[in-house]
């Protein structure tokens, strides 16, 4: 069972060196214990482009599909047997990156 752990940012600050170091330690643990699937950081919402090809031709729009104060700055995809395990890992991830995270199951 896979879960998406999204990292939510509520300010424009980049990760500090301490946070980066803590994230590395957490990532190593995920890999060593077999929970790791993938992870990555994302550019700011201002770097996003929305594409809509439903009308036949692709329409490009600058910026995120929805403007919000809080947005996703990164994510983990983890493999966990159930939500209890996923929540525990997410709690550690939140501590490591010093941000709120959201857990959602893949279907």
């Amino acid at each position: 069972m896979q879960y998406l752990v999204s990292v939510i940012n509520d300010n424009a600050n980049l990760a500090t060196p301490e946070e980066d170091a803590a994230i590395d330690v957490f990532n190593d643990r995920l890999q060593a214990e077999g929970y790791w699937v993938f992870a990555g950081g994302l550019g700011a919402p201002g770097t996003a482009t929305v594409i809509d090809s439903r009308g036949g031709e692709a329409m490009f729009t600058d910026g995120p599909f929805v403007e919000t104060k809080e947005y996703i700055v990164g994510f983990w995809i983890i493999e966990a047997p159930d939500l209890d395990v996923a929540l525990k890992l997410a709690a550690e991830g939140s501590k490591a990156c010093n941000r709120k995270v959201e857990v959602r199951p893949f279907l």
Binding site: M1, P81, D82, L83, D84, L87, P105
Partner: protein
Amino acid sequence: MTETGVQQAVTRAHREEWARVVAALAKRFGDLDVAEEAAAEAFATAVERWPADGVPPNPGAWLTTTAHRKAIDRIRRENKRDEKHREAQMSYEYDEDPSEPSGPIGDERLRLIFTCCHPALATEARVALTLRMLGGLTVAEIARAFLVQESAIGQRITRAKAKIKTARIPYRVPLAEDLPARVSGVLTVLFLVFNEGYLATGPDTDPVRHELTAEAIRLARLMRALMPADGEVAGLLALMLLTEARRTARVSSSGELVALGEQDRGSWDTALIAEGHQLVRERLASGVAPGRYQILAAINAVHTSARDVRDTDWSQILALYDQLVRLDPSPIVALNRAIAIAELDGPQAALATLDRLEEKLAGYHAFHAARADLLRRIGLSRESRTAYDKAIELAGNTAEVASLTRRREQLG
């Protein structure tokens, strides 16, 4: 057997076996939806068949077997409809875990409780799900008890079940390291149910809704049977029993709430008090530091030990509140502690304590009611009247408003 006899047997089986049947099916099929529906069908079949066939010698086993068949029928029906759905369903079956402990902690109802009270579910969803799956209350009954539309309760339960399934909230007793926090989550749900029954929040409702307090006590007894070594479980059960014991004395014949100090102590339920005191003594004898519910139970044990309000051991009560404040520094605990101070050191000392709480409790009716009472006792009628006005304005329960209004009228 007579018709009423059969009816009583069905009612008793429902009360005693519902949670066990749902829990057994949830474990077997890994799906709360299937478990709930099949259990309901099995009880409906019992209502139909028992009057003609007679009550089976082991109603619990009969119901479990019948529900099991109903669940398999349903899954077969769905398989024919959707082959892919079947795969999803079967892949979600739980494996038997040989490392799981046997005995009460291995009881399937305990897993069901922890699943229904999972921290990933919203509190009101936990309450509704627990009353439906463990308590066997119908959606209509839950809606009536909480004065919420039936459709809203139905939706809460449906959403919660969907989340449990899709996000894979596990069906098991939490690990030992997580147990205290998870037990505390279960107790919060049971206490919420009890409190809603004990002091309904809405206007024009019965001041006490016995069906909710009774259900909360029944579920707390179940928790106690399943986790006999847990101090807080015992504490919450004792707290509920000692509070429920005063239920009939709490509302006057004219429908007014009666304060603890003015209650007819002769009408308290002595059996419930004895049971509550026994639990409190057991916890004291354990020598383990008490948690919040155990301290609250001990406070209620002191109150219910006094044959007359004047015999109340207030120094003991204040000592317990001092202990509670260290665990739970909330302003509501501080307010109750101030009431004990009034009895020991006089209303003036208590008012000084209340003044410090004003900022946090200005929107809480009980704060103004307590203040009004203290002001009245030191002869400040005008200030007392203003405080009663505020309390009446903020109080939601009709019986409570009636009692506050009478007190205000009694001011000179």
